[in-house]
Amino acid sequence: MAVSQLTRTLPTTVRIKWTGWVVPAILAGGCIFLVVGSIQSALFAQQTVSGLANGGIYASLAVALVLIYRATEVINFAQGALATFTTFVAWQLLQWGLPYWPTFVLTLLIAFAFGATVELVAIRPVERRGNVLTVVIASIGLLILVEGAVGWIWKPTVRFMPSPFPLHFWNVGGVAFSSQDIGTIGVSIASVVVLWAFFRFTKLGLAMRAAAVRPHAARLVGVRVSWLLSLGWGLAATLGAIAGLLVAPNPSVQLSPSMMDGILIYAFAAAVLGGLESSIGAVVAGLAIGVVLSLLGSYVSWVTPQLQLPAAFVLMLIVLLVKPSGLFGRTTVRKV
């Protein structure tokens, strides 16, 4: 099930010829810009790092979206809500006195089981009878249900979520970086790398890749494709849980039933920008979005916090218009 996006040609000059070097060149240029700017200005460096931290969160959630999309062509609208739920579960465990890191690990396990169960109970019955769009609608129903459940169980008051990282500032060359930001970048990158290694080097990961691209052929060699689908949702939920745990301590986000709504948009934008089939693309795009929005917020006065989300949205629209297959996607024209 490769990407099959038919590009409708606009009869105007909007079609730009993309050769292989343009995107990497832009990225390289961007990196150089960031490094130079960071050296020149402490504020720039700080904003870049905190932008990368936000970007790491968007990237984690984006990879979760790509995971499910690659296997089923379904855009899972409930990804953020599932993450919110697991983050509240973590909060509850902390309330009951469990120390932080055991809570973290336990939450990831719970998230995995939760994701796999959700796929089995809510998604598979729909998939059996319907098509991609009905599954998408079901995922929207799931979004409503899970966010509602969070509000029902825990009441919709905004809560404080402790951070895994001690409140500490690292001083590098006169610039102060919070351990929260550094830690977030570290954990998000690490989790994506672990996932990548899982897919690349393990038998199960190989089977999942095979099942995603050729489910029929995979069945013939004995791969239980439907189990792996549940597994995929479990993994996606785990990634989402990590994103949720990393973002909830952020004072501008905080723990509330709707906390992942905006982040889901950024994650969508990252996934789409990255080409929807490529995890690397999603990660790079996620980091880029985080940094760009952070810098825009500091340096462009009319980009207030409220306008960040619309800005990301406009960015997504523009990319869709100009390069519909995303920055890293392949433009596969479907044979009529």
Partner: protein, 321 residues
């Protein structure tokens, strides 16, 4: 599954009479609720136009309602317009917004429109909060009050007009779309530009419907602020459409009534907390999708036709069941 014209006409006639007569038997509060049902009716109608034409769904109609609502609010509050006179303006503004969103999103199959409209649903309240000088920000804008009867009457008159409009639009299109399919796929594809144009225009129209709904909503609550049109509203419009039958005109009334009245019923008579409503709604959506009832069946027919690439914009399933 085509019910005869006579039966359909009969059903409409009965429904119309009931709707016309009902308010005289209701309290003022209930009339206001009835007006809200009318509001949802128009919004869901708009959503079904999108689904009928493009086979995609929108979860951003709340935002188009916001656009319409704010148009009416700003014109009435700040510029002293007569409220009913703002409705056509609101429709135009909604149409424009729909076109802007639709152009990039409708070029693709799949859930791209849902994705983009989801973002719109979240983005518009943020924009409204940001330009508070213009929109009154979180404090909002106050609007003149009206009686329940006036609201009910206005809402349902607009609803009736829009219903007829929707029906005409979809009928006219059916003929041409069918012809395009019948002639040849190459011909249909070579007129690819016009297909995209029709789809985008359809989305614009549907956004216009939602804008009018939003304007009336704002009049009903005589107030507007960004939180009025949150993501939840867009999701509830979708729920109403799903329950009533996606892509179908005839179930819209059922869907609208369901979405507006069920929460009230649940919380007041069954004593469930208001937090339980989304859980129940979400579960209903999933169950509906899993069991493939008439709503999903219509959608499937549309999408099956679309995915076989034989008819890109044949609004199947819109002629009733």
């Amino acid at each position: 599954m085509r019910t005869s014209v006579a039966v359909r006409a009969g059903v409409i006639a009965v429904a119309a009479i009931v709707i016309a007569v009902l308010p005289f038997a209701m309290s003022d509060y209930n009339r206001t609720q009835g007006a809200n049902v009318g509001v949802f009716f128009m919004a869901i109608l708009g959503l079904n136009i999108v689904t009928g034409y493009t086979g995609q769904i929108s979860i951003g109609h709340g935002a188009f309602m916001a656009i319409g609502g704010y148009t009416t609010a700003i014109l009435t509050h700040g510029h002293g317009w007569n409220d009913v006179a703002t409705l056509p303006i609101s429709a135009l503004v909604g149409f424009a917004a729909g076109v802007v969103v639709g152009v990039p999103a409708l070029r693709f199959r799949g859930a791209y429109l849902a994705l983009v409209t989801f973002a719109v649903a979240l983005a518009v309240p943020q924009i409204a909060k940001n330009y508070s000088g213009f929109t009154g920000g979180t404090e909002g804008l106050q609007l003149p009050q009206h009686t329940g009867l006036w609201l009910y009457g206005t809402a349902w008159t607009c609803a009736a007009i829009l219903f007829v409009l929707a029906w005409l639009l979809l009928r006219a299109r059916t003929g041409r779309a069918l012809r395009a399919v019948r002639d040849s796929e190459v011909a249909a594809a070579s007129s690819g530009v016009s297909l995209a144009v029709y789809k985008t225009a359809a989305f614009g129209v549907s956004a216009a419907f939602a804008a009018v709904a939003g304007s009336i909503y704002v009049l009903v609550i005589s107030f507007v602020n960004p939180d009025v049109f949150g993501l939840t509203l867009s999701l509830y419009i979708l729920i109403g459409a799903v329950v009533g039958g996606l892509g179908s005109l005839w179930g819209v009334l059922v869907g609208a009534a369901f979405v507006q009245l069920l929460p009230i019923g649940l919380t007041s008579s069954h004593g469930l907390s208001s937090q339980s409503v989304p859980v129940i709604f979400g579960a209903i959506v999933i169950v509906v999708m899993a069991l493939v009832p008439r709503g999903a069946a219509d959608l499937l027919r549309i999408v099956a036709a679309l995915s076989s690439r034989k008819s890109q914009d044949n609004p199947l399933g819109l002629e009733g069941r």
